[in-house]
Subunit: 353 residues, 2 copies
Amino acid sequence: MTQTIKLAVIPGDGIGKEVVPEGLKALEAALEGSGVALETTAFDLGAERWHRTGETITDAELEEIKAHDAILLGAVGDPSVPSGVLERGLLLRLRFALDHYVNLRPSKYYPGVATPLANPGDIDFVVVREGTEGLYCGNGGAVRVGTPHEIATEVSVNTAYGVERVVRYAFETAQSRPARHLTLVHKHNVLVNAGHLWRRTVEAVGAEYPEVKVDYSHVDAATIYLVTDPGRFDVIVTDNLFGDILTDEAGAITGGIGLSASGNLNPAGEFPSMFEPVHGSAPDIAGQGKADPVATISAVAMLLNHLGMAQAAARVQAAVDADMAARAVAEAAGAPLVRTTSEIGDAITAALR
Amino acid sequence: MTQTIKLAVIPGDGIGKEVVPEGLKALEAALEGSGVALETTAFDLGAERWHRTGETITDAELEEIKAHDAILLGAVGDPSVPSGVLERGLLLRLRFALDHYVNLRPSKYYPGVATPLANPGDIDFVVVREGTEGLYCGNGGAVRVGTPHEIATEVSVNTAYGVERVVRYAFETAQSRPARHLTLVHKHNVLVNAGHLWRRTVEAVGAEYPEVKVDYSHVDAATIYLVTDPGRFDVIVTDNLFGDILTDEAGAITGGIGLSASGNLNPAGEFPSMFEPVHGSAPDIAGQGKADPVATISAVAMLLNHLGMAQAAARVQAAVDADMAARAVAEAAGAPLVRTTSEIGDAITAALR
Ligand SMILES: CC(C)[C@H](C(=O)O)[C@@H](O)C(=O)O
Ligand SMILES: CC(C)[C@H](C(=O)O)[C@@H](O)C(=O)O
């Protein structure tokens, strides 16, 4: 455990700038009396920065970020920026440069939250999404662009090295949970090359985790189960694109990606890991104090956990859970809580203390 | 309109063999008095055939199938066949050899059907899935297989030619529907090469259909909307893999892929188009008369439509809709209908006459 957490903070755009201060409030409260100090460096990155300077992130900034213990990201993006610029130039740049090979996305249903499902049941699973390979590696191209003979390709690259390490992480995660159940999601009946690499790797690594029950689902079937029987999942391990798709659907069934947090992890600790709410910058509600900071505060719990402060992490998550329970009670009583972003942050922070 | 429909019939495995006869019953009834005769040729293809002969489909069979006007497929597959063998060797072989570049998958919610959604609302959209390109073209490979240095790739191939023709079909479809609304689903913020080809193509072709309202959704967001607001969709056009994923989720929200039909179309008519229920061979319930033939009978309606017999198609679909309505009434009265596969087929066929 470090005695000072050097935290890189990227508020970003829109509501990112509103939820990050709430996350920091909760983080400071969680560290009080722990003997661990917090040192933050803010990085001005995102759509506004790009409009101003034409830069997504400079090499110097990337090096500076690398000197931190972890990163807290709000949200970046704005409709005024052409598609792909910030995604490839900033978000994916960070994931790849910092070797964030595990993208950890827990999905939990809080009773009382409005969900589109008639019977959500007990939803509590975590998706372990690969973060540095697959179709996200920017390996593809186009020829004869704009002509009737254009050909555009996208290449999914999967390596034994890359698949093995994320699968191992997923088994460790499954092993540490009561249900000890891992589901590989892929499409190996069509994507035979990549699919069989994933399947063989799960089989091989699984031999070291005899207590973990393993099964498999094609990605198309998994989108069905998420709607009809989400309780069947405990830990899902999958590739970069399938993970992107499944975690958004998972957000929807649990009542909105507004509540979900995500960790972009470099478990080996060679580079800082990055924690963020799954939601975007939501320019339509930005600047009005309407954003819910709960996903960012959950991201802070993941961050603490990653830095080895499991107890502080549990306290933050418990404060979030208590706030969600209070909402459910108010909702059930017909008097839903109406609070601004910082009021919610204050309430959770107060509960933490 | 042909005076004789030469129909290739592939019952396949499991419940495929039970639902296909019901589809044929309905087809014969629909043709009665129309002056159009039906001539069927059965093809013994699928898991059983593969176990017996080691063949998925021979070149001679493929040529013979080409000489037909259309194909009715039940379902193929069995857990005893290694993953990929029948998918690549038979199903995708047919789609590619017969240039089925449009995979048409309507999604409709029938009131009364059990759905996982609390408020399904009015779901009535159609997915136009590309069928001959993308990640399905088998363009990929692996080196150093089984070693720690294995690399497995899958290549998504997208051509202006291939994208333009399916996008055009989607606009024609949207133009013919009351809502006239087309949604492109892709992931162009990450898959920039393929994504921008799709986007530019939709823009270019869209200029010829000024009455069609066009919008766009990333595939991850689309999986959210399918759960939270499926009524927003009218016609979705998307690539092969995204279409595979979205149509399964669409099946789930409308009450199960057991009710959905699919057309693998060669709109130009150079090769026979293929119609099928979306469900699989369901070995667990095979041979017990438990399968619901309604998806196959809907596939027959699509088949008639494709062959230019719009009136007969509408009659078949109306008979299906009436049966679904009767189920809802019985269900609401607390006395759900309990019928075998052929009893359902008989009821729908009787209604048709
Ligand atoms: C913004 C985009 C690049 C990103 C992704 O596709 O990974 C987002 O959808 C996510 O899931 O974090
Ligand atoms: C069986 C498989 C090859 C097929 C596909 O992926 O297209 C199926 O899932 C479908 O949707 O028709």
